[in-house]
């Protein structure tokens, strides 16, 4: 094998996916070729660095969210005439396009403004609460100028670390542009035993 052939197969060699004869030929070449050894070392280092990326963990309420969404889906399927996203797709698309034409959209995140202009499209009663939540009102989904938002009031026994969907975070202006809120019930940061009201985008 020459250097070009070795370099072409080095990645597969490192993955131990070459047949034994090819693998032996590369091993023999590496013994006598410093240039190819350097190349091998670089590729090995890349693998090591990829595996050293610190892992993240799933959100604390991950399982709760899954069961909430499963319950929602099954409610939607079993209730005839109830609001569904597919039925609303065409008018929603029209509203979103209209929304994009309005620069004021991206400056109006106040709860009061949304509450005053919103129509209730869905109400979800939660019988099971995650351990950190002591009580929670039903989650109400509002429609507002083509947007949806979810509102609930709850009391929590612990602070929660996910604050990225709050109205105070400027990023909601970006994440709010596509309406996926119907499937997201995110518990936001709350101080211990403090009742709060939250708009969830």
């Amino acid at each position: 094998m020459n250097c070009n052939q070795v370099k072409e197969n080095l990645s597969t060699f490192l993955d131990d996916e070459l047949d034994p004869s090819q693998s032996a030929a590369i091993k023999a070449h590496l013994i006598r070729c410093a240039d190819c050894r350097r190349e091998r070392d670089k590729l090995e280092l890349i693998g090591t660095r990829l595996r050293s990326i610190p892992p993240v963990t799933a959100p604390r309420d991950f399982e709760f969210q899954i069961y909430s969404r499963i319950r929602d889906k099954s409610d939607t399927r079993t209730a005839p005439g109830k609001f569904t996203w597919t039925k609303a797709l065409v008018p929603m698309a029209a509203m979103i396009v209209g929304l994009l034409m309005s620069p004021s959209l991206f400056n109006n995140g106040s709860p009061a403004r949304i509450a005053a202009n919103a129509d209730i499209v869905q109400q979800t009663d939660f019988s099971e609460l995650p351990p950190i939540v002591e009580n929670m009102d039903e989650i109400v989904e509002y429609k507002f100028d083509g947007y949806s938002c979810l509102r609930t009031t709850m009391t929590s026994t612990q602070p929660h670390n996910d604050t990225r969907r709050t109205g105070s975070n400027p990023s909601f202006q970006r994440t709010g542009n596509v309406n996926r809120a119907g499937t997201h019930y995110v518990m936001d940061a709350v101080p211990v035993r403090t009742s709060y009201e939250k708009i969830i985008y």
Binding site: T12, I46, R49, A58, F62, L100, R165
Partner: protein
């Protein structure tokens, strides 16, 4: 020596019930079996999807949808087959669909430049309220660098690279998960590593070039 997620998981799972056994139990109505699978794989799937979509919230949402699909389509799982590749295939499809949806949406969006899976990368800002100890700064920078470099390579090369290097799947399994021939897995891994090496080299060169300037400033 660093280990892949799969090696870690297999080491933990050696003495416990197999995924296939749990999935079969769930098919027969054992809800706790689903919860055990969820517990076993939730972090891995969030991490895998995160490497594809580069956004934690989106990755969590997609990962939830992955398990919802498992829950609602449990009947499609073939007893005796391997659960993890099936799960990762669902995750791959959903994550890739999300990136396609983002691209479509960006076409209409006036405000949001978006994050192109092949061109740009949104670096997660460190949480200012919890400053990291100094001795972890260098490690974090190195990790951010590789994450940023990984996000810059095209999706078709990035996905097999993550499945191989981080998740520890072999070529046959990657071929099943991504529904591509084994030869394509080989060529994409080869090209992906080469692109990643180049991206890293450029970033490190840029960091070195910026170093003395930063000191002057």
């Amino acid at each position: 020596m660093t280990t892949t997620n799969r090696e870690d998981n297999e080491a933990r799972s050696n003495m416990v019930v197999s995924d296939d056994h749990l999935m079969c139990a769930f098919q027969k109505g054992d809800e706790s079996a689903f919860r055990r699978l969820l517990e076993r794989y939730q972090d891995r799937i969030v991490n895998y999807v995160l490497r594809i979509v580069n956004d934690y919230d989106t990755a969590s949402d997609i990962a939830q949808e992955v398990f919802i699909r498992v829950y609602t389509n449990a009947g499609r799982y073939l007893p005796g087959s391997r659960f993890a590749p099936w799960l990762y295939r669902i995750a791959s499809n959903l994550a890739i669909n999300e990136l396609r949806r983002r691209k479509r949406w960006r076409f209409f969006s006036l405000n949001d430049p978006g994050d192109d899976d092949e061109r740009s990368y949104k670096l997660e800002l460190p949480d200012e309220s919890t400053p990291s100890p100094e001795d972890t700064v260098e490690k974090r920078e190195t990790s951010e660098q590789i994450e940023a470099a990984l996000s810059k390579i095209p999706l078709k090369y990035r996905t097999p690279l993550v499945l191989r290097e981080i998740e520890g799947y072999d070529y046959e399994e990657i071929s099943q998960i991504l529904d591509i021939p084994r030869g394509t897995v080989k060529s994409r891994l080869n090209r992906g590593r080469s692109l990643l090496k180049t991206a890293l080299f450029r970033m490190e060169a840029a960091a070195k070039a910026a170093g003395p300037l930063a000191e002057v400033e």
